[in-house]
Symmetry: C2
Subunit: 315 residues, 2 copies
């Protein structure tokens, strides 16, 4: 399956979506309210594609082939014309989204799904008054979607089942791993899971139990090893002789004792941040952050190649 997608807003996330779609043989039209932004984005995308090609992440295609599928549209109307998918990447301000969606929706062709990349706003808040609100949803990536497969499909109460099915098919077709939510909720799925873990991590450091680095060891050299290829439910399903119920019956009592002490909020920007920041800056000086981000992306690409190979070879 392929088609034409309009990427509305050509910042960091819009450019990443453009790559994800174009790599999967979709035609991509970039539009941005700032006149020079979309043409400039094409240059940045070209550089990113060189990097991906060098890391064997273009599925055997040449940079020019992928780049040729991406064009800049001069107007919103021209961007949307004949599209099958519209991915909006405007700033995380409700009024901006509302105005933009009111402008987009009447221009969008009847067959198009309209998706927002928002991480912070549930879709009902900017789609309620739209005539064709049944084809609107949030499709939230972990940036960048051309590297990280998971994306959240978040329906408003009026998003149709047909729209959800089409969104799931399109996301699978471009190589993402869709989380098909049954209703909207603040934080969606991934930020809720991440928030629960981070809150306990900050509390452990705030309470003087261990350092931030100790938390990182516990995850990167401990829990996240299995999580990175199975997730937490399959992990516990395999951690008791007869499966997940057996696990819950054996160990819930152990965890139950912990929850009372997990209720108190910790201000992440309060005193605990003095310690966390001092520790991080000692391990990684501020002027080394950008280089470390490039290291992270190289490690991430290597991990994804490893996972693809392991999935083929280990059964």
């Amino acid at each position: 399956m392929s088609g034409t997608t309009a990427i509305i807003g050509s910042g960091l996330i819009g450019r990443a979506w453009a790559i994800a779609f174009a790599r999967a043989n979709w035609r991509v039209r970039l539009w941005d309210p700032a006149e020079e932004a979309a043409p400039a984005a094409q240059g940045i995308i070209a550089d990113l594609l060189e990097d991906l090609a060098a890391n064997d992440m273009l599925r055997g295609q040449k940079v020019e082939e992928v780049l040729a599928r991406i064009s800049a549209a001069p107007t919103l109307a021209e961007a949307l014309e004949g599209t099958d998918w519209i991915q909006e990447n405007a700033p995380e301000k409700l009024e901006v989204k509302r105005a933009l969606w009111q402008e987009m929706e009447p221009l969008a062709p009847a067959q198009a799904v309209l998706a927002s990349s928002t991480s912070a706003i549930v879709p009902s808040l900017f789609t309620e008054e739209l005539a064709s609100r049944g084809r609107c949803l949030t499709v939230h990536p972990i940036n960048p979607p051309y590297l990280v497969p998971a994306v959240e499909l978040v329906p408003a109460p009026w998003t149709s089942g047909e729209t959800m099915q089409k969104a799931e098919s399109v996301m699978r077709a471009i190589g993402q791993a869709p989380i098909v939510m049954r209703k909207e909720i603040d934080g969606f799925v991934m930020n809720r899971l991440q928030g629960a873990l981070l809150e306990e991590a900050f509390r452990l450091v705030a309470d003087g139990v261990c350092s931030a680095e100790d938390v990182d060891i516990g995850i990167r050299d401990g829990l996240a090893l299995r999580w990175s290829f199975m997730g937490p439910f399959e992990t516990i399903d395999l951690n008791a002789p007869t499966g997940v119920r057996d696990y819950a019956e054996r160990y819930q009592g152990l965890y139950e004792n912990l929850f009372a002490s997990m209720q108190r909020r910790v201000d992440w920007t309060g005193p605990v941040m003095e310690e966390v920041e001092a520790e991080r800056r000692q391990r990684l000086p501020a002027d080394a952050l950008a280089e470390r981000q490039r290291w992270r992306d190289r490690r991430l690409m290597a991990l994804l190649r490893h996972k693809a190979k392991a999935a083929r070879e280990i059964s």
Copy 2:
């Protein structure tokens, strides 16, 4: 650094520790109160070592070399004689631990550190009355420690700084990644982090937001990719332009809105388990659990080889 270790209790965890120490050139004495258990454990260990050798996890050594370092001791006194490290792996029952530690401690040579593998009992509860309680602590692995590097070093209030330093050195010497806790707390570090994440995962399924598989996608194809080589603190440190404080200032507001709805407990063995179990058994029938556990171990070994290679090659 190497020496002699006594492994007290030759069940699943005791055998795994025996491999971790012996592979790192330590002499290992196995003792178990059940007379035939320790000699039988040697046979099981031999099979495990064959598996590890086939997966290139013996650091270039032959099975026989590693196996030759492991012997069964006929009595507790003979097991402890001349040891530098004692690792206790008794059942998770406080009275059993108390009685065993009272028997072990007077027999342990002056230079030996005494460590418990317990995941459920803080060390103060079974070491308080011991004459040399300053050299006692909990060293809790994620099983099996010969594959998963992270181990928690949990001090009782009276565990000496010298003991903690020696424990850290010994664990590093055998190739573990020690989490050096500053005080004891129920759940230690890793089960607290895992508990916080699992509780939110069960709540999302219980509230009809998504399926258990969707949670697994969000972790294995999303969050745990970076966590598996950086941990959560380094991940957020690299996710805002000027680092971790910048991240907390930008995004805490987003997370704060979620915490109120994360307070309500969910009974993991209640109605939500009907759904989770049905879903898991549909994906993986009960009679395929054992084979999937072997798949998990092969994937884990492959991931660890990948991480070692990536750490060497990607800087």
